[in-house]
């Protein structure tokens, strides 16, 4: 049996502008692989998706404790950077109307460890308006609260999600 265990698979609910999955991080694992696939939105215009973690009360964390950096590499050879040391979310990846959209693989560390911050690194690809945006991200949620979920929202609620799935795997360590 693989030490990488699928622990949750959740489809996007069509018509919502916030997509969070809770109760996926437990004390059973310290390291998680979270994969988003085929995330598309209803508008024919591209939109920005901002990540947030979810606390053990099921509430998305909105404190100014997100420190992050995103390198966005574009298919026209241009790149852009987004960063912040005291933000309320993580900027940003993009999505659009299917068959364009967003996919990513993210690693999350120590979410339920209340002696540690919560960390993630991610790599994504977004197809929007006939162009590509490749994303490389890091983020630290600089608080030691217990984090049990993850997801993202459409910035400004400019559109809603249409399709997609989030799969969460726990990386098991056998003593």
């Amino acid at each position: 049996m693989s030490n990488l265990r699928l622990i949750n698979e959740t489809e996007v609910t069509t018509g919502i502008s916030e997509f969070y999955v809770n109760n996926i991080f437990t004390d059973d694992f310290d390291i998680y692989k979270v994969v988003f696939n085929n995330i598309s939105t209803a508008s024919s215009s591209s939109c920005n998706l901002f990540h947030r973690f979810v606390d053990s009360s099921g509430i998305a964390v909105t404190s100014s404790k997100y420190t992050f950096q995103t390198l966005q590499i574009r298919d026209d050879g241009v790149s852009a950077q987004y960063r912040g040391d005291a933000n309320t979310s993580v900027s940003r990846v993009l999505s659009d109307l299917s068959p364009e959209g967003h996919s990513s693989t993210n690693w999350i560390y120590n979410p339920t460890n209340t002696n540690s911050y919560t960390y993630y690194t991610g790599q994504s690809m977004s197809g929007i308006s006939s162009v590509l945006r490749m994303g490389q991200q890091i983020c630290v949620l600089e608080e030691t609260s217990k984090i049990t979920g993850f997801g993202f929202f459409v910035n400004g609620a400019t559109t809603t999600f249409s399709t997609g799935v989030m799969r969460t795997y726990g990386l098991r360590v056998d003593a």
Binding site: L4, N110, A175
Partner: protein
């Protein structure tokens, strides 16, 4: 695709290094680590390949990639002919969560006809509570079989952390 655990070590009292041994087939291997904190302040997580269980100290390590820094722009991460290579993007410390976490994929370690390659993503809170990441790779440019990786700090001991080596298999 599956990951099969080969070796693991959890550090709860200070040690000078962790050896993860077991890259003994031509498969791809992955190392994951988290909560890796030094015993002394301001020191950087580094590594060397193991040859027959011994760290290779020759000046044959080349690296390239990007250094992520949440307080300033993305930086270049590069070096040639070094005697070790970096895993941490900055010097971590001894205060709350000044730790390192990440994953390292190992290629060709068992193949004595190829150089040993690695790609990695790591994230670090440094000794001044700033956040850094590395998305990078290294090559150890000697034709030799390597049976693992030694992970240690550039100075001082490892105070805590969990390190695990996995083999990637097709089913």
């Amino acid at each position: 695709m599956s990951l099969v655990q080969i070796a693991t070590e959890t550090v709860t009292s200070a040690v000078s290094y962790v050896d993860l041994i077991g890259t003994t087939t031509d498969d791809i291997y992955m190392i994951a680590f988290n909560n890796v904190q030094p015993a002394t302040d301001a020191t950087q997580l580094v590594c060397r390949v193991l040859v027959n269980g011994n760290p290779d100290t020759s000046a044959e390590y080349d690296r390239a990639g990007r250094q992520f820094r949440t307080h300033t722009s993305v930086g270049t991460f590069a070096g040639q002919n070094e005697t070790f290579t970096y895993l941490g993007g900055a010097q971590s410390g001894t205060n709350t969560s000044e730790t390192n976490q990440g994953n390292v994929y190992l290629y060709n370690f068992n193949n004595s006809n190829e150089f040993s390659f690695a790609t990695f993503e790591t994230i670090t809170t440094d000794y001044a509570q700033r956040s850094y990441g590395l998305k990078a790779g290294f090559i150890q440019t000697e034709l030799q079989a390597c049976n693992g990786l030694r992970i240690y700090f550039s100075s001082g001991n490892i105070a805590s952390g969990t390190f695990t080596l996995y083999r990637q298999v097709s089913s």
